[in-house]
Every structure is written in C-alpha cells, then in structure tokens.
C-alpha cells in the first residue's frame, strides 16, 4: 500500500495525493517533466518534500530498517558502480539489509542475468542495466514495487516480459506502482491510473473511470493534459 498525501515541493509538486493498493497495478501517467519522478523520489526518501507525506505500508520509507524487504524500487540506471560486477553489486545490497546471500543468485536468474553476473556493470547495455536494477529491486522479495519508466530501453521481448512480470506481481497481491509517459505501455496492464500534469494530479481512478467520456485512455490523457504538449 502506498499513500501519497498532499505532497508539495516548490516548483515541482502541488498538493499531490493518491493511493496505490495491493493486488493492483497503478499507472502513474504524465508528460515528461510533469512530476512523476519527483514524486517517486520523495516517496523513496531520495528527495525532500516541503509539505505532505508519502507512506509505504504506513511508514515513511526512511523509517524502515530493512527497506529492501518492504519496497523494491527501479529508478534510472542500475545503480551499480561501473567497475563493479552485477553479482558484487547485489551482494553488498543484500548484506546491507541482512538478506541471505542465496537471494543474489535467485534474482540474477529471475531477470536472466546469470551468465553476465561476473561482468562489470559499466559494460552493460541499457536493457541489461534495467534488468540489474530490477534484480536489485527484487532482492528483498518486497510486497511493494515502485518502478520509474520500467520499460525504457527494453527491447520488444523485454517489454513483453516486464508486462507479464508486473501483472504476475499484482496477482500475487503486491502493490505495483509504475510511472510512464506513454499510454500504450499502460493499456492492458494497469488497473488504476493517476494522471499528473505540471505537478498536479488531474485525474485518478480505475482505467474505466478515468477514460469515461473518452474513446480511449489515450484520448482521456490528452484531454486532461491539454496545453502541455504542443503536438
């Protein structure tokens, strides 16, 4: 469960409120620069908000002593130092949250990086970096997943894999929150949608609720965010 309540950050976020619930995929949609990444970074304790709260399972992210067992987060890049191997990166992360070493091999296998585990992360392609980032997110087998533009840089097979993976995660009862600036990515995968534009939430609800009165979710998106895009 993710609860964002009246979050504000000067020039970026204005009174942002929404929830992402267990067992559902929540799509966080908005044009580039609308405040998606900013919201997620505040939620994960990386950036500071001026006002409001962002809670994961009832607590601020920083209040969890082993946060990797609560939230799995995928942000830009893999987060691995370029000189470190994928395995070494996952090992220190596991150590820091007192996770069994066996999890490292398990998540590497899960994302299909077992054969590249000993290679330096600096030499990884964008797709491999994303997969390493996802492996890190899954280390603690967390009930909540937060993913910023998760399919960026993935090839079609990777996108297909990611979509199935996120659907399965929600089916297992996990809370899945993913941001995207592309409608197509969310159709058929999101249960709920939150649309953000220029730092404000302009619509939220189930996909049906938000697209009511419009032909498609895409039409709804452009109608709601009209004026930001010049196309």
């Amino acid at each position: 469960m993710i609860a964002i309540d009246h979050l504000s950050r000067p020039g970026r976020l204005h009174d942002v409120s929404f929830e992402a619930r267990p067992g559902r995929v929540t799509g966080f949609l908005g044009p580039n620069g609308a405040g998606k990444t900013s919201t997620l970074r505040v939620l994960l304790g990386l950036d500071r908000a001026r006002g409001g709260t962002a809670l994961v399972s009832g607590r601020r992210y920083a209040e969890w002593s082993r946060p990797l067992t609560v939230v799995g987060a995928l942000l830009d890049g893999s987060g691995a130092h370029r000189a470190r191997s994928a395995r070494a990166h996952l090992r220190w992360m596991a150590t820091s949250n007192r996770l069994p070493r066996s999890r490292v091999a398990e998540v590497l296998d899960l994302v299909g990086l077992t054969d590249e585990a000993g290679k330096r992360a600096g030499g990884f392609s964008l797709g491999m970096s994303r997969r390493l980032g996802l492996a890190a997110a899954l280390l603690g087998d967390p009930p909540v997943l937060v993913l910023d533009e998760p399919v960026n840089g993935l090839d079609p097979a990777g996108i297909r894999w990611m979509r199935a993976f996120l659907r399965d995660a929600a089916a297992e009862g996990r809370t899945v929150l993913l941001s995207s600036h592309l409608m197509g990515e969310l159709s058929g995968i999101a249960d709920d949608v939150v649309i953000i534009d220029r730092g404000r939430v302009v619509a939220s609800g189930t996909v049906d609720e938000v697209s009511a009165g419009h032909l498609t979710l895409e039409d709804a998106f452009f109608a709601l965010t009209a004026g930001t895009s010049k196309w």
Partner: protein, 258 residues
C-alpha cells in the same frame, strides 16, 4: 531495539567494507599506502645516513617516522574513494544515475549510512596504517641500526591515528565537494608539491593549527613551524577539525536531495 540497531549497524559496516574493498581505485590507495613509506626508507637510506653524519637532522628520532607522512597519501585516496564512488556516473546511457541512489534505497537513514561508511574507512585505514608503521620502523631499524634512536610505541600509535584522521578528513571534504577528482587533486598537491597550510605559517603562526600541519606534531618532533605544539594538543586539535568538518558535511548531506 538497542541490540537490533547494533545488528543493523554491523551489517551496514559490513556492506560498506564490501563496497570499498570491491573497487580497484581503493586498492590503489591501499597498496600505495602500504608500500610508499617502507620503500622510501630504502631509497633514502644513503641520503639519510649522510644527513645524520653531518648533523643536518633536527631530531634523529624523526627519521623513522618522516616517510609515514608521505605514505599517508594512500589513506587519503581511500577517504576520497569511499565517497566519490557514490557520485561517479554509472554509465553514459543514463546521465545523472549514480551508485548513491542504490545506497540510499538500501540505507535511507543518512546519518547511519555516514557512520557505517566512516567506520568501514577507519577500520581499513587503521589496519593499513598499523602494518605500514610497523614495516617502516622495522625496515628503518634494519637499514640504519643504532644510528637512529629506537622508536617509541606511543609515537607509532600516534602515526596510525594520524592516518585514520587524514582519511576521515578526506572523507569529509569529498562529502562536501561531492566530487573525487577535485578533492584528490587538491589533497595530493597539498601533500606532495606544496603544503598550503605550511606556506601560510610564514604569514601567520596560527596556520600551524590547520588540520594536516597540526596533526603531524602527534608523531614528528622537529617540524619547522613558528609554534611549539605538544603531541596530545596536536591530536586534540586535529580531531576537533575532523569532527567539525564531518559534522558540517553530514548536516549538508542530510539536507540535500540525493
């Protein structure tokens, strides 16, 4: 809760040790620090012998310790790398992506993270400093015999403490600068080419109390500065510098966006 926190801190320190010792640049600092001083003893052997014979040395007991002031460069590199590795871009594909993101996701309590990093760094440098000091003193004894007075254990311990404090100083400065290259360049130039605090002592005697100059008084006796500083005073002043800079760096790190 108390023991839970302790268990957590042990795993955080363990993770930071893994991170630090998993980097090649850290090993450059480690090996350089271990070898520089003992090797210099050998290289300078004949020059040292001549200097002693001609009575050019201020305090002969310093000769065993002098080279440790150069080897400390290795400890500095470790202090820089422990922070700069967090800020190095992880790849060209994604500008702005750094290891720091993964670090803060795993350890969101920043003050705990900084304590764990500082502890891991201190442990590594203490071991490095101890091995180097012992090796340097033994080799000095072996090369020069009774020409140089037998080293006192207290001074050896002070030299190790100096290494740890210098590493923590580099750690604090890099945390403030958020960039390893700038910090490392300044520190290397300062300790090898020309010491800025040392030059300043020509202007004002108070410059002798700047961190790296004052710290050397802990284990060296004949430093050419206009003021007399006792070893214990030197240790206290340098510790205060390091603690103060760490406090400022930590406060800023806590407040800033990652």
């Amino acid at each position: 809760m108390v023991s839970g926190g302790r268990v957590q801190m042990v795993s955080l320190v363990h993770a930071e040790l893994r991170k630090l010792l998993g980097l090649r640049t850290a090993w450059v600092g480690l090996v350089l620090g271990l070898l520089a001083a003992p090797v210099l003893v050998g290289l300078n052997a004949s020059a040292t012998r001549r200097a002693v014979a001609e009575g050019l040395t201020g305090d002969a007991s310093d000769l065993a310790f002098q080279n440790l002031g150069i080897g400390v460069l290795g400890a500095m590199i470790l202090g820089v790398v422990v922070v700069s590795s967090e800020f190095t871009p992880t790849g060209d594909d994604v500008p702005g992506a750094r290891q720091l993101t993964a670090t803060l996701l795993a350890t969101p309590r920043r003050e705990r993270l900084l304590i764990a990093k500082g502890t891991a760094l201190s442990l590594v440098v203490a071991v490095q400093g101890l091995l180097t000091t012992v090796a340097t003193l033994v080799i000095t004894r072996w090369v020069h015999g009774s020409l140089i007075p037998a080293p006192q254990p207290g001074r050896a311990a002070a030299a190790v403490l100096y290494w740890v404090l210098i590493a923590l100083l580099a750690y604090a400065i890099t945390l403030l600068a958020r960039n390893g290259i700038v910090t490392l360049t300044v520190l290397i130039v300062n300790s090898t080419v020309v010491s800025l605090p040392y030059l300043l002592t020509k202007v004002t005697p108070w410059a002798a109390y700047l961190p790296d100059v004052v710290g050397a008084h802990m284990f060296l006796r004949s430093i050419e500065v206009p003021v007399e500083i006792a070893p214990v005073t030197a240790g206290l002043v340098m510790s205060a510098w390091v603690a103060g800079l760490l406090a400022v760096a930590a406060a800023l790190f806590n407040r800033r966006d990652a």
